[in-house]
């Protein structure tokens, strides 16, 4: 810890932007100013007011509450997707990278096949098979994101496999599992962290994309993509309906990207 540590602009701005979106989202998981599902005809497309800072949507639901709930949903889907991708991807990547040989060949060729589809398209296929909805979307995106993590983790394990510290660990009598997950795994965190942040962004955007297309989160539940999709019809008379969730999405993704780009 040097005294003359330079301020890391990316880290500071990234943290601020991430906080701006995640704090309301976290609050939105337990509390919103208004109920997000109750419709009110008298407030239909209401303009911004003190009672409703962002106004109301076409069903008279408070936009702020909707955005809070929507970002919470998007955040959870993003986190869940990355979680599934990282856990399964790390496990497969570790096995193939560490053992090499035939196991590696089989898994990696299968991985290549998965990789050759754009992950959004792959998620689309999963949704088509499993049906649409929050949970299905989460699994679909999670599975679609596994191959990229397999790649990253595998490369790290291939590099580590022949390092002397791994030989030392084996020589201490450590089992393969112990070598893989106790000795090598912490060495992959640095690289994994960046890909987790990038992966989170991709997942958020993929959720928004799929929900926008109407195959992700289903009404009346809110998600940022879902809200953008609903706002299409009113784009000209009430652009705020699209701007609020859209800007929230941008800030969320930008904040995380900046965190990922922090200076080394």
């Amino acid at each position: 810890m040097g005294k003359n540590r330079r301020y890391d602009f990316n880290l500071i701005l990234g943290s601020i932007l991430t906080a701006i979106t995640t704090v309301p989202a976290l609050i939105g998981m337990i509390w919103t100013p208004y109920d997000t599902h109750t419709m009110n005809n008298s407030l239909k497309l209401a303009k911004a007011s003190l009672m409703h800072p962002f106004g109301c949507d076409n069903f008279g639901r408070d936009l702020l509450s909707r955005v809070m709930e929507g970002s919470a949903t998007t955040l959870l889907i993003g986190l869940g997707t990355v979680f599934i991708g990282v856990v399964i991807g790390t496990f497969i990547g570790a096995l193939t990278g560490y053992y090499g040989g035939l196991v590696d060949d089989i898994f990696m060729r299968f991985n290549d096949v998965m990789f050759s589809f754009p992950s959004l398209l792959l998620a689309l296929v999963f949704v088509a098979v499993m049906g649409s909805g929050k949970i299905q979307l989460l699994f679909a995106l999670g599975i679609a994101f596994i191959p990229s993590y397999v790649r990253i983790v595998r490369a790290e394990y291939v590099r580590a496999r022949n390092m002397d510290y791994v030989k030392s660990a084996k020589l201490a009598g450590a089992s393969d599992m112990r070598v893989m997950f106790v000795h090598i795994l912490p060495n992959t965190f640095k690289i994994l962290l960046n890909s987790v942040l990038i992966g989170f962004n991709n997942a958020v955007l993929a959720e928004a994309g799929l929900s926008f297309l109407g195959i992700g989160v289903q009404p009346p539940d809110a998600s940022l993509g879902r809200m953008l999709s609903d706002a299409q019809t009113y784009l000209f008379n009430r652009p705020g309906l699209a701007i609020v969730p859209g800007v929230t999405l941008i800030i969320m993704v930008l904040g995380i990207s900046l965190l990922g780009k922090r200076e080394k």
């Binding site: 390092m163 002397d164 510290y165 030392s168 660990a169 020589l171 009598g173 450590a174 060495n187």
Partner: protein, 264 residues
């Protein structure tokens, strides 16, 4: 007899044409003996050592002959048996102290690893033993080293840490694969002295691998000279020094730099 190696042949099959790197390697070691293994790069000395330590993975190298260590057949015993010996009765230290320690784990954790696997000591007992063994390798401030990461130590200190980690369960055999090559001359001499002391105090047999005959002469009684995968000469160090049988050994001895004093 601690170690009995007979007719060891090591072949690699990772190319189209199989490649033999060690031919008919024989070695007998008694408890508490120090044997030197000398030869140029690529002469097969490290490969033989890795095979004795049970570190040559079974699928990419083919081995013939037998390695009997404390009555166990290293080449054919179940992996469990092998792991039971590694870190407990056989240990090894490597050439490059920069890479042989795990960069993300504290020294203390790494020194304790073999104990964690082979003994059921409590954390307090492990720490006590780790500090004791760190002190015995002549590290000045064992408490501080215990809580350090590898990058905070110098090369010489890391090599001492490696020796400490290898000696923590007082093994019967320590294989030292060019442990001094990456160190500067003064540190080299200290490490050699340390190995000598460990051998005397713990009665640990040492297989010392080097390409430096003068180091071998300081440390060992018996030496094997390898070239191109064959043991070309073996026997008493002093005899070989005074009266080398093979031309290669002669040239090896002549290659030791001599201090020329007549400066006039």
């Amino acid at each position: 007899m601690l170690l009995h190696v007979e007719d060891l042949n090591i072949e690699f099959h990772d190319h189209i044409v199989p490649e033999t790197v060690v031919y008919d390697f024989d070695l007998d070691m008694d408890e508490g003996e120090i044997v030197g293994l000398v030869g140029e790069s690529g002469s097969g000395k490290s490969m033989s050592a890795l095979a004795i330590a049970g570190l040559l993975s079974r699928h990419d190298a083919k081995k013939r002959g037998s390695i009997i260590f404390m009555g166990e057949d290293i080449l054919n015993c179940p992996r469990e048996t092998l792991r039971g010996l590694q870190g407990d009765e056989i240990s090894m230290i490597f050439q490059e102290p920069m890479t042989s320690l795990n960069p993300v784990k504290k020294i203390g954790w790494q020194v304790e690893e073999a104990m964690r696997i082979h003994t059921d000591k409590t954390p307090e007992e492990r720490k006590k033993r780790a500090l004791e063994v760190l002190r015995s390798v002549e590290l000045n401030d064992p408490e501080r080293v215990y809580n350090s990461y590898p990058h905070q130590l110098s090369g010489g200190m890391r090599q001492r840490v490696m020796i400490a980690a290898a000696m923590v369960n007082t093994p019967k055999l320590l294989i030292a694969d060019e442990p001094t090559t990456a160190l500067d001359v003064t540190v080299q001499a200290e490490v050699v002295k340390l190995l000598k002391r460990i051998n005397r105090e713990e009665n640990t047999a040492i297989l010392f691998i080097s390409h430096d005959l003068s180091l071998i002469r300081q440390l060992c009684k018996r030496v094997l000279v390898m070239k191109g995968g064959y043991v070309v000469e073996s026997g008493d160090v002093e005899k070989i020094f005074v009266n080398p049988e093979k031309d290669y050994t002669k040239r090896l001895i002549d290659s030791i730099p001599k201090v020329i004093l007549d400066r006039d």
